[in-house]
């Protein structure tokens, strides 16, 4: 089974650099990356995941509106029939320097499987994804 993953930057966010690097790093690590790029809506992520039978959705947000933009993504995935899809989020997810644990909890409560703080290397996400997908 091919390991398709959907990668993109959510909402009105246009930070493209990290997106390019994640694409490069996950592809190098053997994943089939469907990169929907910046300025992507929840529907864009979900449609891409359905079309490509993806196993995970990786959401980036660098500009602080991540909390508003990510709300309801898990519920919409379920409605669309993506029952067990992995949801990861990472970046500068909220406005300002906030206590990381509370940010992580807020995103986990929203249904994200993994949440990454600013400055996380792509390698960490790759390791976790391999573990979650049971890829050796």
């Amino acid at each position: 089974m091919k390991n398709n993953i959907v990668l993109g930057v959510i909402g009105a966010d246009c930070h493209a650099v990290g997106n390019r690097i994640l694409d490069y790093a996950f592809t190098e690590a053997g994943f089939e990356v469907i990169n929907i790029g910046v300025l992507s809506s929840q529907e864009d992520f979900i449609n891409a995941a359905i079309e490509t039978n993806a196993r995970a959705i990786l959401v980036s947000s660098l500009y602080g509106h991540g909390e508003i933009d990510c709300r309801g993504l898990r519920e919409k995935c379920e409605e669309a029939g993506l029952k067990d899809i992995l949801l990861y989020a990472g970046g500068n997810l909220v406005v300002g320097k906030q206590d990381w644990e509370s940010v992580e909890k807020r995103f986990k409560d929203m249904g994200f499987n993994r949440v990454y703080a600013p400055g996380t290397t792509p390698q960490m996400g790759i390791r976790d994804l391999k573990e979650d997908l049971k890829i050796v």
Binding site: A16, G64, P118, G119
Partner: protein
């Protein structure tokens, strides 16, 4: 309307304007004549163009932060802190990202949620939703000029509201606020929409009110070779001047190598003045230097090192203004305290270097010559593609990859060019893509990168670019291979 580099007629402008003012209910409060009267009553120390001109005459560098929050009173509190504690010379109103995409309904959600949760849920000040009256309220509460800073491909209504609100400068341009900030807005569309913004500034000028315009120099802020950003800055400057803009601040984002950065500012001034003269524009030209726009170290003391290095370079280059970063850069939007600290570190450095300039040297001379030659290669081709028209030429230059911005999200950008640092940290072209340069220039860039590759014991490759992107955050300028 057909795009060409020609001043809009009154009829053309008014026809578009009628529609623009209906994009959101606050548009109906903009009355050009009333706004002109209001702007005439603003004291000189609150006029952006006047303060820049004075700084240029005195040969000093002024400091400006970025800042903006969702609610009016909170925004005022923030700006007053940056003015009183940070001693900012200019104040910004950074506009939130929903406004930048003209999603005013989502701004309204952000405003309401910010009131409910008692913290800003937006990453900037939604000026369109707040309207003319509130923009004036912000101006009344501070003692420096105000500028809108954003990243909006279609900033027409925003420009109308902020200028009527007494903010005497608007950042952006048809290339620099599209290609790094949007995915699917055509270059033709954003050039037209920014001609509107420039024409609006020009109209105020004709009514005797000085409005400053500042194209966004750093583009994607990620390893942009100086000749590419200078070419874009000069084009945006020329397009603005055609629409009647008189006070123009051209920008450049720090790359990190002192000689290259100083050369970039000096060649930007010399070359743009040459072009303005050729085309007969009378422009009051100033420059803005952006402190390092890429990834920052998370450690705050280390971040101050990066901030001060940017301030030092701006002073030694002789830029009129420097845009300041903060010790919170690595984690996102700063608190007002952290923001003020960034300005203070900057101003201390600027004051120490007051009057000092980097002396001309063989290296500096060579670098200025190189940047100018590269920039000319791009601009000559743009003009050729446009058959003498820079606006038409720009659209075609993006299609052809003649102008190519690294790491840009826009699908209208070819994205074949790749930059990387040489051994001294200066940014060079690794892949030229379709950028037309002489063989001599291409060979020189290649030679410098091969020297670096050799010293690192690896091939010139994309991994080098990735390493460079992370390098400053990890404490070095040039990204070395991991041991």
């Amino acid at each position: 309307m057909e795009l060409k580099n020609k001043k809009w007629t009154e009829a053309e402008f008014n026809k578009v304007r009628e529609e623009v003012l209906t994009h959101w209910p606050t548009g109906k409060d903009v009355d050009l004549q009333e706004a002109a009267q209001f702007l005439k009553g603003i004291p000189e120390h609150k006029n952006f163009a006047a303060k820049l001109r004075k700084a240029k005459q005195e040969g000093i560098t002024l400091a400006q932060p970025r800042a903006g929050v969702a609610l009016v009173d909170e925004h005022i509190k923030l700006l007053q802190h940056l003015q009183n504690e940070g001693e900012a010379d200019f104040l910004p109103c950074t506009i939130d990202s929903y406004t930048r995409q003209n999603r005013y309904n989502e701004c309204q959600v952000g405003i309401e949620e910010s009131i409910k949760t008692n913290r800003s849920m937006l990453n900037g000040f939604p000026a369109v939703n707040h309207g003319v009256h509130n923009c004036r309220k912000v101006l009344a509460a501070v003692e420096t000029p105000l500028q809108a800073r954003h990243g909006t491909p279609d900033s027409r209504l925003l420009a109308e509201i902020i200028h009527a609100g007494g903010w005497t400068s608007n950042e952006g341009g048809g290339i620099s606020y599209n290609i790094p900030y949007a995915k699917s807005v055509s270059v033709e569309r954003s050039l037209l929409d920014w001609q509107y913004c420039d024409r609006l500034a020009g109209l105020y000028e004709e009514m005797g009110i000085e409005i400053n315009r500042e194209p966004f120099g750093p583009l994607t802020g990620t390893l942009v070779p100086p000749s590419m950003s200078n070419a874009v800055a000069i084009i945006e400057g020329l397009l603005a001047a055609e629409q009647g803009v008189k006070s123009l601040t051209l920008g450049y984002g720090q790359c990190g190598n002192l000689v290259q950065d100083v050369a970039a500012i000096r060649s930007l001034i010399e070359l743009s003045e040459e072009y303005f003269k050729t085309y007969g524009y009378k422009v009051d030209l100033t420059t803005v230097f952006h402190q390092w726009m890429g990834g920052f170290p998370a450690d705050e003391s280390k971040a101050f090192g990066v901030i001060s290095w940017g301030a030092a370079t701006a002073a030694l280059a002789g830029a009129t203004k420097v845009i300041v970063k903060t010790p919170h850069e690595a984690v996102g939007i700063p608190t007002m305290e952290a923001n003020a600290q960034g300005i203070k570190a900057t101003k201390q450095t600027l004051n120490l270097l007051k009057g000092q300039r980097l002396q001309m040297s063989k290296e500096l001379e060579l670098e200025i010559k190189l940047i100018k030659a590269e920039t000319k290669c791009i601009l000559d081709k743009v003009l050729e593609l446009g058959k003498g028209d820079f606006a038409i030429g720009t659209v075609k230059a993006f299609e052809a990859g003649v102008i190519d911005v690294p790491f840009a999200p826009s699908k209208y950008n070819v994205g074949k060019m790749l930059p990387a640092r040489d051994n001294n940290g200066a940014v060079r072209y690794l892949e030229f893509g379709n950028i037309p340069m002489t063989k001599e220039i291409k060979d020189f860039n290649k030679q410098l990168l091969e020297e670096r590759a050799k010293s690192e014991g690896r091939q010139v490759s994309f991994q080098m670019v990735v390493d460079d992107i992370y390098a400053v955050g990890k404490g070095t300028l040039v990204g070395k291979p991991e041991k």
